[in-house]
């Protein structure tokens, strides 16, 4: 499985569509967008930070484990760091697979696991 993990302090740019072979049947793309309201407070944005070498290691482990359960061809993971204004993406994930079920499960469980034990944090702090 092709795995890419990126962190960026710039706006997330959607990677160019690029299918590794003619057996890809599903392209699934997820973007997590910063919302205005968090616990009833109106925000201008959120501040993100990561323990990047550990985050990469944990994410790579998650993706390798999930690929055993839900075989997919490729995952590209991009997390933005620093200040992310409301309405912009903090997270982008693209999954390619032969069939949709695998991509949907892989994506859903990747995000669930991200929120369990990948050392990335958001905080309500103005830039």
């Amino acid at each position: 499985m092709h795995i890419e993990i990126h962190f960026t302090f710039e706006s997330i740019q959607r990677p160019a569509a690029n299918f590794p072979n003619r057996e890809i049947g599903t392209e699934l793309e997820f973007q997590g967008i910063v919302r205005e309201l968090e616990n009833g407070r109106a925000l201008q944005g959120l501040q993100y930070e990561a323990y990047e070498p550990m985050a990469r290691q944990v994410l790579a482990k998650h993706f390798a484990e999930l690929a055993q359960i839900h075989p997919c061809e490729s995952v590209i993971f991009i997390h933005r760091l620093g200040w992310v204004p409301v309405g912009e993406a903090s997270l982008y994930i693209r999954v390619l697979s032969a069939h949709r079920g695998e991509a949907l499960s892989f994506l859903a469980e990747s995000v669930n696991r991200l929120k369990l034990d990948v050392p990335i944090w958001k905080q309500v702090k103005e830039p």
Partner: protein, 76 residues
């Protein structure tokens, strides 16, 4: 020996540093290390990682090079 102790997000605010070099011995546990640096800190919701892997608080430091204080994560 020396290790690098890192603190992130809320732990950085609570502990008052993001990175420091700490003298220690291989036999000292992670809990003892952190208690020595911050005797009054509340460790309840904090996890600890050694060289980029989650570890138990009562593990000895051993040959660790980098120890990180990991508050509840909130990426995505």
């Amino acid at each position: 020996m020396e290790i690098t102790l890192l603190a992130f997000a809320q732990a950085k605010d609570d502990f008052g540093f993001s990175s420091q070099t700490v003298a220690c011995s291989a036999e000292e546990t992670l809990r003892e290390l952190v208690r020595r640096i911050a005797p009054n800190a509340n460790l309840e919701h904090l996890r600890i990682a050694v060289d980029c892997e989650f570890a138990e608080w009562d593990t000895p430091i051993g040959n660790a090079r980098e120890v990180a204080l990991i508050p509840p994560v909130s990426g995505g």
